[in-house]
């Protein structure tokens, strides 16, 4: 059976936005994602290599732009003379801060504040002639014809004398010297804006304080033969950075736990009870809410019958019986869906997906439970899905699939498949499924596929009436794409079929019902969590590194 891959809509993941020059993405686990889980790389990409553009011409890059070597410039004025050491020092002294041979390179991106604690390591492959190497940080736009540390907003640790340079041409005694074979690490604590270095896995102490935000990892070289390799976190580090991360997490947790609150806001018991109770009511856990309210004396603001109604609708959606849910909604809250075409479209779209899934049938047909038979044959996966929220009545009802090997039908293979009319993007591959080859149940299969196609057309027509919004369009495309595969469950768009996807639809419907009843569309506890989450995002944008260590899910779990 021929697949038309071109029909696949954008899958909508964040990949593909990577900088073209770093093709170093490993196929296995991305260690950087584990190191910096709170960094949103779509907003603030992590440094993963040295920049081919943001460097001085004397610098050469190789090995996926992770190796830096000094290639020097052409002979000319300003090239440092070859002199014995003392003369060289004198020469340097005379030339002040203009070491014209020094050259630096910055990483592709600045360090995102949401890293919390950022770290990279540089291995000195060769110290070259004199080992005048500097490792550190610099801001965007700082002169690259320098070693890191010499200019404003530039910070470096130099191998020849072990001094640290803090935006100044004169260094401070800081640590040991370093040379061929050493591994030098540079860590940036974005909570207190300090920087430390390590040598061969040993912490050398804080080198700089009061760092500005948005610094780039930087290395500088100055004499021929100097070569360094870099590990931005793709490989395990020599230094145990995890230990420091743990410490910062623990410290942030203590800071949160011990944050002082004014007395009137500190009545936790009351607040928590209220939150639990409203959450239960909001999601229609009716009897639990009643029991809880009896135990804690919390009032329930909503009529019990109303909660039960919402619960019923939610159960239907969660069971995949969206058509029934729509009908029930229309009956119980007339006018609601008519006033909110976007919601109706969302429901219908889901209904279509559930039709593919074989869990949704028009309530009027086939008896109460509906016949949960997918019209699409598949061979790969047994049809057993349950999200554990609602027992799938439909599945019990008769989740019998039609077992059929994908027949190699020569006559269909070479034909250009015609588009199904009225459903752009849906090829006639569905037509190929049409059960004219089915020996048994032929008529019922055909009828159900035709019903589905008809439903699809209706859906498409509906989408045309909505304000042409990219969101709706891609949702529809994703749903229709299901039809392009012989086994939709194993296809790249198969995620839509997962029962867990019903939850978002269920929530949207529930919120709309509540809103129409004049109640809050989200429960206080969820509002609180999403508020906290958005605060963390704001912190990240405002370069407040502590956001990296406020692990919301861990705090909630506690």
């Amino acid at each position: 059976m021929k697949l038309r891959k071109s029909e696949m809509a954008a899958i909508g993941s964040g990949r593909g936005t990577m900088d073209s020059q770093n093709q170093v993405q490993s196929d296995t686990v991305d260690r950087l994602k584990l190191l910096y889980p709170n960094v949103n790389e779509e907003e603030t990409p992590l440094p993963r290599a040295w920049s081919t553009k943001d460097k001085f011409s004397y610098i050469g890059l190789s090995q996926n732009n992770l190796r830096v070597h000094y290639k020097g410039g052409t002979q000319g004025p300003g090239r440092r003379p070859h002199l014995p050491y003392l003369h060289l020092r004198l020469w340097m002294y005379r030339h002040g801060k203009t070491h014209r041979d020094a050259a630096s390179v910055r990483a592709t991106h600045p360090i995102p504040a949401a890293c919390g604690l950022y770290y990279f390591e540089v291995r000195i492959v060769s110290k070259g002639r004199d080992g005048y190497m500097g490792i550190g940080l610099s801001a965007h736009g700082v002169n690259m014809n320098r070693l890191p540390g010499w200019d404003k907003h530039s910070y470096g640790y130099h191998g020849d004398d072990g001094h640290s340079f803090c935006s100044s041409g004169t260094g401070q005694p800081y640590g040991p010297t370093f040379t061929t074979g050493d591994v030098i690490g540079c860590g940036v604590n974005l909570v207190d804006n300090t920087c430390f270095y390590t040598k061969n896995g040993h912490h050398l102490g804080i080198a700089f304080r009061g760092l500005p935000p948005n610094l780039y990892p930087t290395v500088g070289l100055q004499t021929p033969g100097e070569v360094v390799d870099t590990n931005f976190g793709q490989q395990p580090f020599v230094f145990d950075i995890e230990d420091m991360l743990k410490e910062l997490r623990a410290r942030t947790r203590v800071a949160i736990d011990e944050f002082p609150l004014p007395d009137e806001q500190g009545q936790w018991q009351q607040v928590l009870h209220r939150m639990v109770s409203t959450y239960l009511v909001h999601h229609g856990y009716c009897s639990t809410a009643q029991a809880f309210s009896r135990a804690t004396g919390q009032p329930i603001d909503e009529d019990i019958a109303s909660i039960k109604n919402r619960q019923r609708v939610s159960k239907l959606v969660l069971a995949g019986r969206v058509g029934e849910a729509v009908e029930t909604t229309r009956r119980l809250w007339p006018g609601l869906l008519e006033r909110d075409p976007d919601l109706l479209f969302l429901l219908k779209c889901r209904q279509f997906v559930e039709m593919v899934n074989g869990t949704d049938c028009e309530a009027s047909e086939d008896g109460a439970n509906g016949v949960a038979t997918s019209v699409i044959s598949h061979t790969g996966r047994p049809h057993k899905r349950s999200n554990g929220v609602a027992a799938d009545a439909a599945e019990e009802g008769g989740g019998r699939d039609v077992d059929m090997a994908p027949a190699a039908n020569g006559d269909h293979e070479d034909e250009a498949l015609p588009l199904v009319k009225g459903m752009p993007g849906v090829t006639a591959s569905v037509a190929a499924l049409l059960p004219d080859r089915f020996e048994a149940d032929a008529s019922s299969q055909r009828a159900s596929v035709e019903r589905m196609l008809a439903f699809g057309r209706e859906l498409y027509a509906m989408s045309q009436k909505l304000s042409q919004d990219l969101y709706h369009k891609s949702m529809l495309e994703d749903a229709f794409s299901l039809l392009a595969y012989s086994n939709p469950w194993d296809s790249p768009v198969g995620w839509q079929l997962e029962p867990v996807r019903r939850e978002a639809v269920c929530d949207a419907l529930n919120s709309a019902i509540l809103e129409s009843q004049g109640m809050q569309w989200s429960s206080p506890v969820e509002a609180c969590v999403s508020h906290a989450r958005s605060l963390l995002r704001r912190m990240s944008r405002a370069s407040l590194g502590a956001c990296a260590f406020a692990d919301l899910s861990a705090l909630l779990a506690r």
């Binding site: 040993h202 912490h203 050398l204 230990d243 410490e247």
Partner: protein
């Protein structure tokens, strides 16, 4: 039960105290409960109750096995409460045999009972007091096995208590070995496990870490057992490694690093073990930083001093770790004696071997002022640590010439040594003095004025060989290229009697330094003649004593060198020539199988036969008569003495009339 208040006076408490002695169990019980409630939280009540002599009765109620267990429990709890009182309260409890009674009780009470827990709790309180009544707990295997069993299996409270008691008790090799046999290592290991996702509790971990440290301290056998003890899938060093991480409470990390340090120093872990290099050392360096409290920093510096005491690679590593030097320089400025002491000790260890580190200590951190202040500190621990630091730094020739001179460190040092110092201070101080008195040290002159000679001569009379060695060594250093008046003063002050006593010393090193002193005294021609004119007989006698005695070759070599020096003097030559005995020996030594003795004898002979000096011909003739010429010729022919041929030739060349 009668009503009471915290402020109840002694008179009103009389009645229930009388009830304590009643034979009616119910009344006794009531009285006990009243008593217990009255003493809880009130030191005044505790003192008053103890002064009324209730303790023996309580001990009796506690120990009597026939009594109602509840009465015993209440009595034990009351004792435990009293043991939380003032030090005087605990003293009187110990005096009345409380510790022994509790230990006796622990032998019999059922494990896991409330009674056992209460008894352990009381015992822990008593053992927390210093000095702890360690004798009350005999090194009896059955008892110890029982206690370690409690430490493994009992309630959390009982386990913590028993481990704390054992940690205090374990103070010597006997205790260490006994506890190890009783399985205390595995009991401690079990306490060190921190379940994942739980907050580590210092009150549980610290006693176990203290016990482990106390057991491993300087004991290679126990350390080896600890190394191989496992709990679950982790060995003790691995468990400790988890505890030194940054997210653990500081006191836990400190104690864990201490255990790792003790394991290393006891030889169970090599100095380059990753758990030392990446575990204990960075942890301790981190704990020394400014962010931490003074007592944590003080203890961390002290442990780090012990960890880096001998190993140069660890010293170098520590020196670059986490700005340790700055941290220590800052700790020196802390108020407490413990902090100053820890920092000085740590500096002493770091600077023990590496010149660069010494330079860094002095140059980057301006430590000398603090060392001098430390020497003057009234607390003997601080001044001792400062002397240790000074001793370590005095190994640097450069520092002796510069910084030490600038700060006149010898002044406070001499003062300390003259001020009836303790044996340890005397030892380290005199070693430092030795270094300060090296020839090139400019401190030499002013120290002489301070009576250094007299003090050093006194040192040579000490019973401790290390002190005698330091004394004579310092004198030797002092005499090197010194002025004649200094040499006279040394000879005069030391006295010939003491000189001979030192030549007969049991320690060869002392004899060597004594002879070295003589060599240094007898150098340059004028000094030789001047000294020999006064002390000829004694010096010659000393040389003969050594040459005739059964001394090792290197000692005799020194004696021959002295003869050589004497032979260089103008008039002193005659002293040798007049002594046929010595001359014959000289000839014998030229044929001695030991080549360094041959060389030394050749040096003496060369000086004696040197032409162009008055009386050379006569000396040559005399020596030829005694067979010296023959001996020299033999030496020239010998293949074994090829390296001496040049010198033999030079000597033979002097004898032109005879050859």
């Amino acid at each position: 039960m009668q009503q009471f208040t915290v402020f109840m006076d002694i008179e009103s408490s009389r009645s229930y105290i009388d009830e304590l002695y009643s034979s009616d169990a119910v009344k006794v019980m009531e009285a006990l409960v009243t008593l217990k409630n009255s003493v809880i939280g009130s030191n005044r009540q505790k003192s008053s109750v103890i002064s009324q002599g209730v303790v023996p009765r309580l001990l009796q109620l506690m120990s009597e096995e026939s009594l109602d267990p509840n009465i015993r429990l209440e009595a034990t709890i009351t004792i435990g409460s009293l043991a939380k009182g003032t030090p005087e309260n605990i003293d009187s409890l110990i005096e009345k045999g409380t510790a022994t009674a509790l230990v006796e009780m622990l032998k019999t009470v059922p494990l896991g009972s409330k009674l056992a827990e209460a008894a352990l709790c009381a015992l822990r309180s008593i053992f927390s007091h210093k000095p702890a009544p360690v004798d009350a707990l005999p090194a009896d295997m059955r008892l110890l096995t029982r206690l370690t069993q409690i430490a493994r299996e009992d309630s959390q409270e009982a386990r913590t208590s028993v481990i704390r008691v054992l940690a205090v008790w374990c103070s010597g090799t006997v205790e260490q070995e006994a506890l190890t046999c009783a399985g205390a290592c595995s009991a401690a290991a079990a306490m060190l496990v921190v379940p994942p996702r739980s907050v580590p509790s210092p009150s549980r971990l610290v006693p176990a870490l203290e016990l482990l440290a106390a057991m491993c301290f300087k004991n290679p056998n126990v350390a080896q057992v600890a190394l191989n003890t496992r709990h679950g899938d982790k060995s003790i060093p691995e468990l400790l490694m988890c505890l030194v991480s940054r997210d653990k409470p500081l006191v836990v990390a400190l104690k864990a690093a201490k255990c790792l340090t003790f394991l290393q120093r006891a030889g169970a872990l090599p100095a380059d073990d990753s758990r030392i290099v990446f575990g204990a050392l960075p942890c301790l360096a981190r704990l020394c930083t400014k962010e931490n409290t003074e007592d944590i920093r003080a203890s961390a510096a002290e442990v780090l001093a012990y960890l880096t005491e001998v190993d140069t690679s660890l010293q170098r590593l520590a020196a670059i770790s986490n700005h340790l030097m700055s941290s220590l320089a800052d700790i020196v400025n802390c108020q407490s004696a413990a902090a100053k002491q820890g920092a000085f000790k740590c500096f002493a260890s770091l600077g023990a071997n590496d010149e660069d580190i010494r330079k860094m200590i002095i140059e980057t951190h301006g430590l000398m002022v603090h060392v001098v202040n430390g020497l003057n500190n009234p607390d003997p621990c601080v001044s001792l640590a400062a002397v240790r630091c000074l001793h370590s730094l005095s190994r640097s020739v450069q520092q002796l010439r510069t910084t030490f001179q600038d700060h006149a460190v010898w002044k406070p040092l001499m003062q300390l040594l003259n001020d009836s110092p303790g044996p340890e201070l005397l030892n380290v101080g005199s070693s430092t003095l030795c270094n300060l008195l090296l020839e090139f040290s400019p401190a030499k002159e002013p120290m002489l004025d301070q009576g250094a000679v007299e003090m050093l001569c006194n040192l040579t009379k000490m019973s401790d060989p290390a002190l005698r060695l330091n004394g004579i060594w310092a004198l030797m250093n002092m005499a090197f290229q010194a002025e004649q008046k200094v040499k006279q003063r040394i000879l005069c002050c030391l006295g010939t009697e003491q000189m001979f006593r030192l030549l007969g010393d049991s320690d060869t090193r002392v004899i060597m330094k004594m002879l070295g002193l003589l060599r240094n005294l007898l150098s340059t021609r004028q000094h030789i003649d001047a000294i020999m004119s006064e002390y000829s007989s004694q010096v010659m006698q000393a040389v003969i004593v050594v040459l005739e005695g059964s001394y090792p070759a290197e000692v005799k070599e020194q004696a021959l060198c002295i003869l050589g020096n004497i032979g260089d003097g103008e008039k002193s030559k005659d002293l040798i020539m007049a002594n046929e005995d010595v001359l014959r020996k000289l000839v014998d030594y030229l044929a001695h199988p030991e080549s360094k003795l041959q060389e030394a004898a050749l040096f003496v002979a060369g000086n004696l036969v040197w032409r162009g000096e008055a009386g050379a011909a006569a000396r040559q003739q005399r020596l030829a008569e005694l067979g010296l010429l023959r001996a020299l010729k033999l030496l020239r022919a010998s293949h074994h003495a090829a390296h001496l041929h040049d010198k033999v030739k030079t000597a033979l060349a002097q004898f032109n009339e005879f050859t």
